[in-house]
Symmetry: C2
Subunit: 333 residues, 2 copies
DNA sequence: TTGTAGGCGTTATCAA
DNA sequence: TTGATAACGCCTACAA
């Protein structure tokens, strides 16, 4: 069964009446081959169905063309749009994404990076979790490029792309104030990843600075269902909040639906809501959510261009300020 | 810079005081190595940070461990959940997904398959588009396994997993009839992929058989925005439909939102809606959509288990009947 | 511009 | 159980 019959460069060479090297050169951009030789080689290759063996090529060149994408919960709207953008950018520079599914544990991220090393991946892009320093050091030492997206932790030799979560949270607070909201709340998941924490801290800090109190509620993963629970907890309080900043859009959707359908509240009249991520669903007319836009394409471009450009060896941090997209879930604006 | 310094089996062997073969055997499951040798090798490997080079291993074994996933519009909820399920299943059998982003053209699918051949992928799984027969033949001839999901076209030597779209559409018709709907409509995209066509044809056929007329409207890609347009077209007709079967859930969401917010209709009292796919958003309380569930996990399992098991050489077709998940967008039930 | 020779890191084979 | 040796398919000098 597993008798894979691939045609090798030698066979092409024989058929074209040239040497193996000539075949190799034909498929190496910028190598010196005569027009005539190239033509004959291409003809033979076409006829035989020859394809350069990227495994063998990677072995020689020490460059596999593979880039490892490490993600958990990849079917989440924000994640999947980021994956799409990154894989698109990678293909534009003739690289290809190896997708690795991790659970929330950092151990599984370590394993993923080990796999990346085994496949001699040119780079690894980490969207979820935080690997151990020893393993990232090994990656970097092996010449692998490392990109950490929204990980908010330092790693030597890596590119770190982070959003300015605190500043964004501050702007959310101001938006609520302008809308005349009095009783602010922050709805967070309880997974406690750095960026989620930063959003909460930034929001609370801004409020304290202004002498305003904030209710913070945390529950579950950053999903719709958690938003439902969070809304139930927040909206049954004695002093019902009239503004909720949600750690991400999925939570916001759950919060809005619950506020409307279960508590018969009107958005934005009774309660204002702001989210984070800019997932497509939030533009649907059932939500029309004011939210911070993660610039997915920009993130992908920065990551990939750094992979291809020979950058400095010391680590680089990139700070991006997400744009606040005004829609109908906040009064005024 | 690009000076990748990887530690090889030889270095490990030297440090452990054994031969390269011993190292190789240590990392080959089921090979015969003494406990003592294994221990010393592992120790040296650990100290040096050795990782088996999968590129070289793939070269020898003629088995790369790579499986090519060919998808377009991968950030769509249904697609991303399928990708997640498949990559998860692949990892369970120690394979790894190479993700390839294609646009709608079949040409790019051909290119993707060429890439799969170049990387000596053990298999390719096609979720979008339909490649040329010549290229799939080459894949199969090269010993690559081929899986076509919802492609509805025959390819020699491939596993074809299809949903029974016609039968599902028939059940949708019956559901509407039981709900007492009189004026039926089908909302489709105009991209005309086989499964979308089949759903339309099945629905229309069922209606004709029962002597009922159906309005069919087609527009744009299978996205929310198309649903908005389709609803506008359908709901401004003289004889406004009181039941709409949508080719997929995203269309259904757009249709429902538009019916409610723009036309002030009530679901399911004024109009019943059925979707297709079972994306998470449809369970949100703003939609609560009755829909056909694509058994994503089952599809993934079937695909991956076929890859690993040495199956017959002739092509195999698998027909799956999607379950109708009853929710609040259809009366009665 | 072309061909020859050697090596990349691994595994399979075979003899010890 | 172990070690030497020959592939795997390719690329890169080097010499012609």
């Amino acid at each position: 069964m597993n008798q894979k019959i691939f045609v090798s460069a030698k066979e092409v060479a024989d058929r074209a009446g040239v040497s193996r090297s000539a075949v190799s050169r034909t498929f190496t951009p910028g190598a010196s081959v005569s027009e005539e030789t190239r033509r004959r080689v291409m003809e033979a290759a076409e006829a035989l169905g020859y394809h350069v063996n990227h495994l063998a090529r990677g072995l020689m060149r020490n460059e596999s063309g593979l880039v490892c994408l490490i993600v958990s919960e990849m079917d989440t709207p924000y994640r999947s749009s980021l994956i799409r953008a990154i894989s698109h950018q990678l293909q534009a520079v003739s690289k290809i994404a190896m997708l690795i599914n991790t659970d929330r544990s950092d151990k599984s991220v370590d394993d993923a990076l080990r796999l990346a090393i085994s496949y001699r991946a040119d780079a690894s892009i980490i969207l979820s979790g935080m690997p151990d320093k020893s393993i990232t050091d090994l990656c970097v030492k092996s010449g692998q490029r490392l990109v950490l997206i929204n990980r908010d932790e330092e790693r030597e030799g890596a590119l770190m792309i982070n959003l300015n979560d605190r500043e964004a949270a501050h702007r959310a607070f101001i938006a609520f104030q302008r809308a005349g909201c009095r009783r602010l709340a922050f709805a967070n998941s309880d997974v406690g990843t750095p960026s989620l924490k930063a959003r909460e801290e930034g929001f609370v800090a801004a409020a304290i600075e202004a002498g305003v109190e904030v209710i913070v509620e945390r529950f579950g993963p950053t999903r719709y269902q958690s938003g439902v629970i969070l809304a139930q907890r927040l909206l049954t309080r004695e002093a019902r909040p009239d503004a909720i900043f949600c750690a991400n859009d999925l939570l916001a959707c759950g919060v809005m639906d619950t506020a409307r359908h279960q508590f018969k509240l009107t958005v934005p009249d009774d309660i204002c809501v702001i989210g984070f991520d800019y997932i497509e669903q939030c533009s649907w007319s059932s939500y029309d959510l004011t939210t911070f836009a993660q610039p997915v394409d920009q993130i992908a471009k920065e990551a990939v261009s750094w992979l291809t450009h020979p950058a400095k060896t010391d680590s680089i941090a990139s700070q991006i300020s997400p744009e606040l997209v005004w829609r109908g879930s906040v009064r005024g604006g």
